[in-house]
Symmetry: D2
Subunit: 439 residues, 4 copies
Amino acid sequence: MGKTGIRTVCKVDFDRPASEQPYLHNRWHPDIPFAGIIKDGETVKIECLDWTGGQIKNDDSADDVKNVDLTKVHYLSGPFEVEGAAPGDVLLVEIMDVQPFQDRPWGFTGIFDRRNGGGFLDEIYPSAAKAIWDFEGIYCTSRHIPHVKFAGLIHPGILGCAPSAEVLEKWNKREAELIAANKLDRDVALPPEPLSVHAGSADKDLTEKVGREGARTIPGRPEHGGNCDIKNLSRGSKVYLPVHVPGAKFSVGDLHFSQGDGEISFCGAIEMAGVITINFKVIKNGVADLGLKSPIYIPGPVEPQFGPGRYIYFEGFSVDEAGRQHYMDVTVAYRQTTLRCIEYLRRFGYSDYQIYLLLSCAPVQGHVAGIVDIPNACTTLGLPIDIFDFDISPSAALPVKKMNMGRCAFETGRTEGVACGESGKNSQVSFGGGLTYKE
Amino acid sequence: MGKTGIRTVCKVDFDRPASEQPYLHNRWHPDIPFAGIIKDGETVKIECLDWTGGQIKNDDSADDVKNVDLTKVHYLSGPFEVEGAAPGDVLLVEIMDVQPFQDRPWGFTGIFDRRNGGGFLDEIYPSAAKAIWDFEGIYCTSRHIPHVKFAGLIHPGILGCAPSAEVLEKWNKREAELIAANKLDRDVALPPEPLSVHAGSADKDLTEKVGREGARTIPGRPEHGGNCDIKNLSRGSKVYLPVHVPGAKFSVGDLHFSQGDGEISFCGAIEMAGVITINFKVIKNGVADLGLKSPIYIPGPVEPQFGPGRYIYFEGFSVDEAGRQHYMDVTVAYRQTTLRCIEYLRRFGYSDYQIYLLLSCAPVQGHVAGIVDIPNACTTLGLPIDIFDFDISPSAALPVKKMNMGRCAFETGRTEGVACGESGKNSQVSFGGGLTYKE
Amino acid sequence: MGKTGIRTVCKVDFDRPASEQPYLHNRWHPDIPFAGIIKDGETVKIECLDWTGGQIKNDDSADDVKNVDLTKVHYLSGPFEVEGAAPGDVLLVEIMDVQPFQDRPWGFTGIFDRRNGGGFLDEIYPSAAKAIWDFEGIYCTSRHIPHVKFAGLIHPGILGCAPSAEVLEKWNKREAELIAANKLDRDVALPPEPLSVHAGSADKDLTEKVGREGARTIPGRPEHGGNCDIKNLSRGSKVYLPVHVPGAKFSVGDLHFSQGDGEISFCGAIEMAGVITINFKVIKNGVADLGLKSPIYIPGPVEPQFGPGRYIYFEGFSVDEAGRQHYMDVTVAYRQTTLRCIEYLRRFGYSDYQIYLLLSCAPVQGHVAGIVDIPNACTTLGLPIDIFDFDISPSAALPVKKMNMGRCAFETGRTEGVACGESGKNSQVSFGGGLTYKE
Amino acid sequence: MGKTGIRTVCKVDFDRPASEQPYLHNRWHPDIPFAGIIKDGETVKIECLDWTGGQIKNDDSADDVKNVDLTKVHYLSGPFEVEGAAPGDVLLVEIMDVQPFQDRPWGFTGIFDRRNGGGFLDEIYPSAAKAIWDFEGIYCTSRHIPHVKFAGLIHPGILGCAPSAEVLEKWNKREAELIAANKLDRDVALPPEPLSVHAGSADKDLTEKVGREGARTIPGRPEHGGNCDIKNLSRGSKVYLPVHVPGAKFSVGDLHFSQGDGEISFCGAIEMAGVITINFKVIKNGVADLGLKSPIYIPGPVEPQFGPGRYIYFEGFSVDEAGRQHYMDVTVAYRQTTLRCIEYLRRFGYSDYQIYLLLSCAPVQGHVAGIVDIPNACTTLGLPIDIFDFDISPSAALPVKKMNMGRCAFETGRTEGVACGESGKNSQVSFGGGLTYKE
């Protein structure tokens, strides 16, 4: 006879704080109690909160983004026991589907304030901003970034198995060393943080231990994956995850309706609450048999597809915006690449903040192009032409006519300079020395 | 009535040193004399030498790669005057075709010796190596890397317009500053070099000037493009190039039959001599109208295409092979990603050097995935499954049976340790004085 | 502020006969009362029954298929008034999503008995058969056709606007002429049929009128579309439909989880009940402005995609299975093409009926190749390799080893000859009174 | 050491009549002498004339098309002996490349006069017409159909192995029966024809025999393939051909720079002379092991690709242009589908003849959609949007402004009615009865 429906192993509750829900947790630690059991071979549904645990509202102010409490994020669903999984095995995770909740058909993209989270371009764009996206089936649109519509490349930002005690210790040690050596005027890593720790159904003592030792969820890490934010690890993908503890202790969360390569504004995907459907299989001794030090994955077949000729590619090099030459620095090169795209789109009337938001969440392709031609690394960013409802191609009639693009959400009271495109102030492009970017 | 054939504006001569051919040059300088005139709107053919000017032979020794003279490379075809082009214009270059010479149906991929050129992984793989590729129509194969066949994503590694005197001065200044500040035990940039300078049809005085001032061709640079090594800037692509001098002084060279994102082994594409067919159009005032600080391009429609589910994606993070945590360093992350792929393919019997060569030239996809989750940047590398004639997918029967994969070309006399796959020692790679690479 | 959820304009009831639900109807007629109102520009959800109105069960017998009541099918949802639509306008219908009901994650593919419905190959395969498909997110599998899994190319089989009285009269006249001229030993068209007519909320008199005049829903028709069964008219597609009556009277139904080109077994898609989300826009005077005699559509971006090299293409010509030459008959050619594919897959152990079912519902590509080389039309059918979990490519080791493929559902009591693959007799298929099919 | 260049086994001579060249032939017959020998596993180049053997000129008159001698066409290159091939084997033919001659960078598309060749729409468009296409690398353009540019999906129209005497006899018998039964006012098949027979290097007696018995090359045939005109059987494709005679006797010709599904105008592809590079492999006993009655093929990876959303799909049904209902006739449906596209494009200023030519040769997708919904077969035709340099999408501003599209080549002296789009006469669309098409 036919299969019955698919079992839901984790339900989230929108009327209760995330910190009180026993199937959620916000640290990586091997001792967090199991939140449920999944059979080898089983397909289940797992509900997930958005990554801020509901802190961001569907409104037109970015106050919530500006004041977000970053100790209270990444409430992951799990950890789940997968029957039969043991250290040295590989957990084969097939993402059968990801969907928003039917009655919450919206998500958000945020730019964090430079002093509270920041992002890839925070030295240039230091203020908080927000765009709300409405979902209608496969498509999303935003009242904050008009004339754009695209199909979601929907995926989980985070999935992975719990670290063993040894792996966890290694993480804490190497990140502490980085923090100790830091001379930058900014956080370079996040050490264990007792504040706001949530260890699922752990008791008080265990929760305190997890607070002292548990790894933060912000970075992905080579040994297990975690917060990789890989946009193409989407529906239909098969992920091969190393298992470090008995039962695997698999967790998932941080669902994205869409994301661009880099997720540059940090809160940069279209963040949403939703349901992920996953099939689990255990590959015994898979770590050794596959030579696996970090997860690998094979994408699914239903990515939104544009023809190769329907992208504009921008090029960037490791010469920073002050004109300084860096040595083979791909990070600098990719930052330049994104700035080239902002300058390009600005001409149509969008503000820089609107574009910064858009490049974070739309399915832009960020490629390492050349990485050996000293001193310049070269990266490219492919912007899909067909997500706009007007012609952005360089063959459109020049010069371009600016359109009224409204504005994205900012903090309450902010009135000046928000729509650069309108003021005409930052259509200037200077080949000379310094920074010409303004808010 | 019908058009006649397409005009060839530059012929190369294989029986004469590159340095004696007046239509070639190997520096960027505004004063190098024009090599020919092209009309606005015209399509022409331009012949090009391979990037080493013929130093590398179709044989089974890597001695030529080891001893390559890197002052004698990048003999570009040009510079050509495009009628009507003036500073501030954009030169729209449409790549109608790229083909190897019919009677030279082969190319090469090299790994430079660490002390003479090096490459992205030279601390781990310090020795010279080489693979020769045979072309049959759209496909290439190599006797040095068996069981692999793929269609070329054929493209020019270098194209661009000459810098103005001001732009050139800026380049020299900022790269000199990098060199001055260098504390690494390796070259970080290449200053002007009088040795082996070739300035086309310039007289002796001008040639000396070009030697003193001319920018080296190795790096791409934001103001004009140059050696970008962008694999998808292939047949059918339209490139928008800023014009800095009257007549544009367009040059092209360094043709690649195929390349992977990053071109990691430096001499990493399938390097070849050949013919490029280009259509030229001038867009007056294009730099300002398009807001163009660096070139942009739109790919063509005939890239080899695999389904998204026909790639294995490897993940890498900014934790280096010694276990040290770096802060958001995409370069480190991409290096790790390539190492993950080497470890994976090694199981089938390939030596690490064979794989290093292969990842340099096969159409692998290198993506910036997450670039905001401190401290770990995450990059991915997509390896196409269908370029192998056996099943490399992780779902193939485990453990994998090693095959006899022969060997790539090494320097004469090298006999030990070259084919890791054969020795069974392949979980450990230790060559010469280099870093020992262990799992 | 944010949008609220999407309005559902039509709910279906699984506990009540389709014939009693006022928002459904099973004839095309301009007088069927409106089932609801939709604004110009609005996006709504519309629930739909499966095309048999629930006659087919999730079990392992094809008795229900054999005995299906074909007067009780195609209960369409609607007709809906789209505000402002008038004859001569075009209704732009954008399919935002199609989903099965969460608690009914299954569908069916049937082969009708030759005497009750038949299908494209019914002279060769005259018996009823059935396969049940289970849905898990984007993927489906069937216990009746093992070793196959694919992502749904989900779409509505039927959508269109009601005919005007004039258009309806034209339909009835031309189809009656075909019936009158018929000399074949089978139905060639279906005239209006008073039995089992359902005209939504019409009263008795109107229902009788609709029974006398209303066009049957089986065929698509050029003037409005209707039952086109176009597999790529899927999620994200925009369809341009001519409007013939005030308010458009739009109806939709016959949802398919997947279908192959041709839908060859007639009940051939993966038929399901579900929900379609549609955005409606009215283009005034669109019929004249677009020169529109029949609907046109633009596909969406999320079709499951395989690389071009991941299909095996079969060729067929207008020489029938008895060796008789037909003149440029594409229908004969396509029948031959499907038979070539059946012969090919049979070697792996599948029965012909299993393959016939599979080709009906899997996303096979049916192309008109050459249509001018007298006397042979040539058609091709592309079979995706990657829907199988074993290697079906012609380069797999030969001869092929047969696998145990179980069986599809047949009528109760049928025991012989059903699984050709198992009996070894599969080079000859002979069922009941039908034509004997030999190699 | 490296491979040397690729051997050319057949050179054509443009200064000599095709009928005098011993490596060419224009009939299928087992006794035509071998034109050369190819090793099992070898890759060779084969030069080919265009299918008319040079009858069509690069000029602006269609007189040559109108008066073409159709007994003097399809001079195929071959037949070649493939060493080791025997009846029952399969010849695996991999198309490594197809290229026009460098010094003949042009091709043609023709519409034959209805009384001399005709075509798919000859009852509506009875006159001869022609378009010349210029090649620049991967792209083609035509002075006769302006505002269109596309990349070639380059392929051979004809390839196949010679029939055995038995197979040949079967062909002649079944086609003779069709001719005998013909009641149409047109040729339905072409019997053996002694006039203009060319049997390669055969002597006079053998040539006469071939003239009496040899099968004409126009139709493809199921037993060996032949003139299939499959547009996607392009570069990189692997074709599996049944072998009927010792040595295979493989022939190839009728190269196409591009073609649309159906090749509707008969001389419909972009016909050209050129060079095809093929690798040959013999699969012993392949016919039985693969269950092969007709050729199968697997496409290559370099087809020009547009995104799925970059096509406009037209729908057609088996109701003919006179309003008559046909029973499940895909041929009628596809004719209607092409007419819908002609009506659509006509609005932009193209004449119907220009569009008829364009649909024949541009890479349009012709699909069998629904083939079971009596009485209407439904087919679709996908027109790529991006081959036009202006916006043809239905979302472009309405009503459309006509452009000056010039004219295609017609017979000398024809002056009236040629550019329908300009006269406004056939922008009329009638939903009523009869034919409204005019030249």
